[in-house]
């Protein structure tokens, strides 16, 4: 160990943090670290301290540690802006200590080299014990030809496909002689280095090898183009929420809800009430998330340019009864009665059954959500000649006249939050009604409950308008509206989202 205790080492830097004068041993360290004298400070820790001192205009004092390849150096360094007014800093080092670096463990060095080569390799291949190709994977554009050739030559020695520089011997040589050789790759301007990493060594002779080809220089940037189309393909599905994302999300969310419900209902054993309540919160949040996923998928569908429906004969009274039945449990939880005016039959609409059901579920669900306990929701049906009508009326606080246009806007929630809505339901319902040639509107006296009026073309009067016959029908995928009752069947306290 070399130590210069007690004595101090002085140096001066300029406005650009260049060392303009330095005593030994700092001067020597500067040169061994690859710097010049004068020249920018080459000891990273010292440069940082000097830079800060100059910038902060503060006298700083730090420990300095550095190494020059053979020795580890530590010192106490004090740096202050020059007092003579010149830009730059005065540097003083004390307690200079220098000790040889410990020997590196050769096996660790070898494994590090292997790691580095793996990171840098642009072609990797698996070889058997006789260096014959088993698999090959090439990434760089200038290696594609080689990769193809090797793929066609599985089972042959890898040395047949490249030229080993400076060797005219019969190939392949022993792997230790080939590890680290330079090779010439046909079709590539770059020079390459081969690395052979032995695998599963038994009695000195490896069972196989990993062959890595690393270039000695990087490829010019512009050649990277061919990789792009593949990326685009990967990204495209993410625009397709309904078809790709929603089904993937629905299963794990349903599982979260189901498990949270298991906890809530203490099926797996006794539990403190607070935890059961948390589980109920989780389930409710999960239900909301599920509803949101459904609504976003719906939104995507109804906003698509080519969206159309497949109209058929639909009994509006039957749809209303089905929707009321699906939501009956939820209504009874709030002691709400859903009444369909008796004896109403045969209101035949020309529309798509599941879409009408979706709208009715939305309207009745909203009515339940915003109705007071122990109230009544009525569904009246009317035949208006060329169209049929379903009117859902609740006894809630109603919709103020000035809000009536807004509630059909996307994400509009009239300032409400925390009730499980996404602000998409009515927007989607109106889009669906209009796509079927109908309309969804709101009426009702302020403060006396809201009436939502769904108009649909009557089947009898339907002229099979162009937009029904010309439009492409949607593929019959399992759809949100079909799945919703299933989600409700979960023993959930929460609500799905249908405002």
């Amino acid at each position: 160990m070399m130590a210069s205790n007690g004595t101090s080492v002085r140096a001066v830097s300029d406005a650009d943090d260049r060392l303009i004068a330095a005593e030994e041993p700092l001067a020597g360290l500067q040169l061994r670290c690859g710097g010049d004298l004068p020249g920018t400070i080459a000891v990273p820790a010292l440069l940082e301290t000097v830079r800060k001192s100059r910038h902060y205009r503060l006298k700083l004092a730090r420990t300095l540690t550095a190494q020059d390849g053979t020795h580890a150096v530590s010192a106490w360094v004090e740096v202050e802006p020059r007092r003579d007014g010149e830009p730059g800093c005065e540097i003083m080092l004390r307690n200079w200590r220098s000790a040889p670096l410990p020997e590196e463990d050769p096996t660790e060095v070898a494994s590090l080299h292997g790691e580095i080569d793996r990171q840098l390799a642009e072609l990797t291949a698996q070889l058997d014990g006789s260096q014959r190709l088993l698999t090959v994977e090439a990434e760089a554009p200038d290696l594609i030809a080689l990769g193809k050739a090797m793929e066609g030559g599985i089972g042959r020695p890898w040395t047949e496909f490249v030229t080993v520089e400076g060797s005219s011997h019969q190939q392949p040589l022993h792997w230790r002689l080939l590890d680290g050789v330079s090779v010439i790759v046909p079709g590539s301007q770059r020079s390459w280095r081969a690395t052979l990493l032995p695998q599963q060594t038994h009695e000195d002779e490896p069972d196989g090898f990993e062959l890595l080809l690393a270039a000695k220089e990087p490829l010019p940037q512009r050649v990277a183009e061919p990789a792009l189309p593949a990326r685009k393909e990967q990204l495209a599905p993410f625009r397709n929420i309904g078809r790709e994302i929603a089904p993937v999300l629905r299963l794990p969310i349903a599982r979260i809800i189901a498990n949270a419900e298991t906890i809530r209902t203490r099926l797996a054993g006794p539990l403190a009430r607070e935890y059961a309540d948390y589980a109920a919160d989780i389930a409710a949040a999960g239900q909301h998330l599920l509803g949101l996923v459904d609504d976003l998928a719906d939104l995507e569908v109804v906003e698509a340019e080519d969206f159309s429906t497949s109209p058929e004969l639909v009994d509006l009274a039957e749809v209303a009864r089905q929707a009321a039945g699906i939501l009956g449990v939820r209504a009874s939880e709030k002691n709400i009665a859903i009444e369909i005016a008796p004896g109403e039959e045969g209101f035949s609409a020309f529309a798509e059954f599941r879409r009408v059901l979706q709208i009715m579920l939305n309207l009745i669900g909203n009515a339940i959500r915003y109705s007071p306990e122990s109230s009544r929701i009525t569904i009246a049906l009317a035949d208006e000649g060329d169209h049929v009508q379903a009117v859902v009326t609740d006894e809630g606080s109603g919709i103020a006249p000035e809000d009536r246009a807004r509630i059909f806007e996307k994400f509009e929630r009239l300032g409400r939050s925390g009730d499980g809505g996404s602000g998409l339901g009515l927007y989607i319902s109106r889009r669906l009604a209009r796509a079927m040639g109908g309309e969804l509107a709101v009426d009702g006296a302020d403060g006396k409950g809201a009436s939502f009026i769904l108009d649909l073309p009557a089947f009898s009067a339907a002229e099979r308008p162009d937009e029904f016959t010309n439009g492409k029908s949607l593929p019959r995928l399992p759809r949100i509206a079909d799945l919703r009752p299933a989600a409700n069947d979960l023993p959930a306290a929460g609500e799905t989202d249908q405002d």
Binding site: L60, A61, G418
Partner: protein, 327 residues
């Protein structure tokens, strides 16, 4: 049902047609809602973590005290007075300067680390009878035949005594801040200068005066680093908290493991056992020595299993990944 799901949706959808008063109130309500929503998690965190003392009432009070002291010094200097003179500042000025100072996370982290260091110092005094100022190692350093070392040790002794006094009074002199943190704090002070030419000039002069009089090497932390560096191969002696005392131990740990001293102080907390074990290992301590340190600081908790199989290099690498990774 949880509220957090909707905030974003509502924000994007606020229609232009709404009366502006209503819009403003709605926005305020949303903010209030957000604040109200944070009550439970923060409270829960504080209640659940009472044991591990990282956010105990004592620590928070000490942090608040030190922040207040720094704010007072900055305002005094800005008003052209000496750092020690007590003076009334307007509540508005104090609150604005406090915001500027605590907006700097590095500063907060440092003050928190000092509070933790002091808490540990007091605990070890109670439990092990370890003198907060004069630990056995410092005795030995003061008695060193080498005049440089002895003088440095004496200077540190005085500085450590001042630190203890300041901690008891929850004070933190500006000159004791590390250079980087002082720099950021002064930048924060500059943003509070105010706009009046006379005030600005005062502030600029105050800042220049603070910078000119600062000497990191003379601060307690500076002296500590120099003392530890000066020990060279003897650093191992400083890596025993019972022998070196908390202050020297933390500096030695930070230097030996090439980590920030504030992180080393943080690592002594019950909630940072993994970091503490890795720091000790990365500093090159053998498993037996690590067990001793655990026993001194966390008498009820054992060393994480398998630590002896981890090399010092791997421990350092893990810490480096932690420092560069998210969070």
């Amino acid at each position: 049902m949880a509220r957090y799901c909707y905030a974003m949706i509502d924000d994007t959808a606020r229609p232009e047609t709404v009366d502006s008063v209503e819009a403003v109130l709605r926005e305020r309500l949303a903010r209030d809602e957000a604040t109200a929503g944070t009550i439970a998690p923060i409270l829960r965190h504080l209640l659940a973590n009472e044991d591990n003392s990282m956010f105990s009432d004592e620590i928070v009070a000490r942090v608040r005290g030190m922040v207040g002291d720094v704010v007072r010094q900055l305002l005094n200097r800005q008003a052209g007075e000496g750092p020690g003179e007590p003076r009334g500042h307007s509540g508005q000025a104090i609150s604005a300067m406090t915001d500027a100072v605590i907006g700097n996370s590095a500063f907060l982290g440092h003050v928190h680390a000092l509070a933790l260091e002091w808490q540990l110092t007091e605990r070890l005094q109670q439990r092990l009878g370890l003198d907060p100022v004069l630990a056995p190692l410092l005795h030995a350093l003061i008695a060193s035949p080498e005049p440089g070392t002895a003088e440095l040790a004496m200077r540190f002794l005085a500085s450590q005594a001042r630190f203890c006094q300041a901690q008891r009074r929850m004070r933190l002199p500006l000159t004791e801040l590390p250079g980087d943190i002082l720099h950021l704090t002064l930048i924060g002070m500059r943003t509070q200068a105010g706009g009046e030419a006379a005030v600005d000039e005062h502030a600029a002069m105050a800042e220049m005066a603070i910078r000119a009089s600062y000497d990191e090497g003379g601060s307690r932390l500076g002296l500590l680093s120099r003392l530890v560096i000066g020990m060279g191969g003897g650093t191992v002696a400083a890596l025993s908290v019972g022998h070196a005392g908390v202050a020297i131990f933390l500096s030695a740990l930070a230097i030996a493991a090439s980590q920030d001293r504030d992180l080393a102080a943080l690592s002594t907390n019950e909630a940072q056992l993994g970091r503490f074990a890795l720091l000790l290992r990365s500093a090159g301590l053998k498993i037996g020595a690590i067990e001793e340190q655990f026993f001194a600081i966390h008498p009820d908790i054992g060393v994480p299993e398998g630590l002896d199989r981890l090399s010092a290099d791997r421990a350092a690498a893990l810490l480096a990944i932690d420092a560069s990774g998210p969070g």
